[in-house]
């Protein structure tokens, strides 16, 4: 019954230099915790402060022009897109993706995340400055 030698272990460690999976986990935790705060604030501020719970067009524009609101909504957008897309990635990974399919899916998801954030920021800008 042979045991693995130290050289085999060292080689395995060298191949795993960058702590990317740790970073992915930390990012998911941090974004998740931020979302707990931001989404609660978002839900309360959007729906439980205004009379009737939903803002009319004029109320939305007035609201989004507030720089603090704008910043929070932008941060919320980035966090929720990152957290959500990373989550979808985990689900797809468990379907057994490997090799080329895995790389393609990762790339598509990254592009989707970037596109979503850009679109959301553009929408915020249009409402705050051109509404």
């Amino acid at each position: 019954m042979a045991t693995r030698t130290e050289e085999d272990f060292t080689e395995a460690t060298r191949r795993r230099r960058r702590p990317r999976p740790t970073f992915a986990w930390v990012a998911q935790v941090v974004s998740g915790v931020l979302l707990l705060v931001l989404l609660t604030a978002h839900m309360v501020a959007q729906h439980f402060v205004v009379e009737g719970g939903l803002r009319t067009y004029d109320q939305v524009i007035a609201w989004i022009r507030n720089p603090v609101v704008f910043a929070v909504e932008a941060l919320l957008l980035v966090c929720v897109t990152w957290h959500g897309i990373a989550g979808v990635h985990a689900v797809l990974l468990d379907l057994g993706l490997r090799g080329r399919a895995e790389r393609i899916v990762a790339r598509v998801l990254l592009d989707l995340a970037v596109a979503t954030i850009l679109y959301g920021l553009w929408l915020l800008y249009m409402l705050a400055f051109r509404g």
């Binding site: 019954m1 272990f9 992915a24 930390v26």
Partner: protein
């Protein structure tokens, strides 16, 4: 005198000559203490000698008779039919190649444990200083007398079958990760940093989704789920300071 009740067993059948798996039904007498393995062996003896079943110790310590009963991973020799209902579904462990009927190839368990260095057997202090050093020296084959089993894990494979993720052969899986955590808790001459590097992988400790199904089915009290989380804590404690600093990890010389 009441006649013993009978239980209907729906047993997974898949042999080398079969085109596809099927479920055969067998009715077996069942007393209050009849186990699933008792019933399967009775089927083998009296109804269908072609049924393939594997077992050894008959008391839950060898891990040979692992299978799924009504979808849940158990050791058949210690699982009573009483309380499982009138119809019981018996299937082999999930995610493993079927050698025949309920017998699976356990290779998927052993090949995952291998890279962790099989810490389930490690140098015994009783072997003396030479014995311990011989076991840790690279490129040597330790002698059996120098090794002792220090672990609870009986390598039964129930955890790998129960895990919602372990269908992916790349995932190290609960048994191997729990073994890795044991190495880090009690190195006894094994290189801890190398093991840490091995599990710090997208398909290592980070692939687990904290379902704890492994811990729920483990018959030996290993708690692999808990072990994986403790592994992650070690990784975070080790990697987090570096994340804010440099990315480059030094390999100890």
């Amino acid at each position: 005198m009441s006649s013993p009740r009978t239980v209907l067993l729906k047993v997974f059948r898949y042999g080398p000559d079969d085109a596809a798996p099927r479920y055969d039904q067998f009715r077996v007498p069942a007393g209050p203490r009849t186990t699933v393995l008792d019933a399967l062996l009775a089927i083998q003896r009296r109804q269908d000698p072609s049924l393939s079943v594997r077992h050894s110790c008959l008391h839950g310590s060898c891990g040979t008779c692992g299978m799924r009963v009504n979808g849940r991973e158990v050791l058949a020799c210690v699982t009573r039919l009483d309380g499982l209902g009138d119809a019981v579904v018996v299937e082999p462990l999930a995610g493993a190649a079927v050698a025949g009927d309920l017998v699976v190839d356990m290779e998927h368990v052993y090949r995952r444990l291998e890279p962790v260095g099989r810490p389930l057997l490690r140098a015994s202090e009783r072997a003396g200083p030479d014995g311990a050093e011989a076991a840790a020296a690279p490129g040597t084959v330790p002698v059996l007398e120098e090794l002792e089993r220090f672990e609870d894990c009986i390598e039964c494979g129930l955890c790998l079958s129960a895990c919602p993720v372990a269908g992916d052969p790349r995932f190290l899986g609960p048994a191997a990760l729990a073994a890795a955590e044991r190495v880090l808790e009690e190195p006894r001459g094994t290189d801890g940093r190398a093991v840490l590097g091995l599990v710090d992988d997208a398909h290592g400790a980070w692939r687990c989704h904290a379902a704890f199904e492994c811990s729920a089915v483990c018959p030996a009290g290993v708690d692999p789920g808990g072990a994986i989380m403790r592994l992650r804590r070690r990784l975070l404690a080790d990697r987090l300071p570096r994340l804010v600093g440099r990315y480059h990890q030094e390999v100890p010389s």
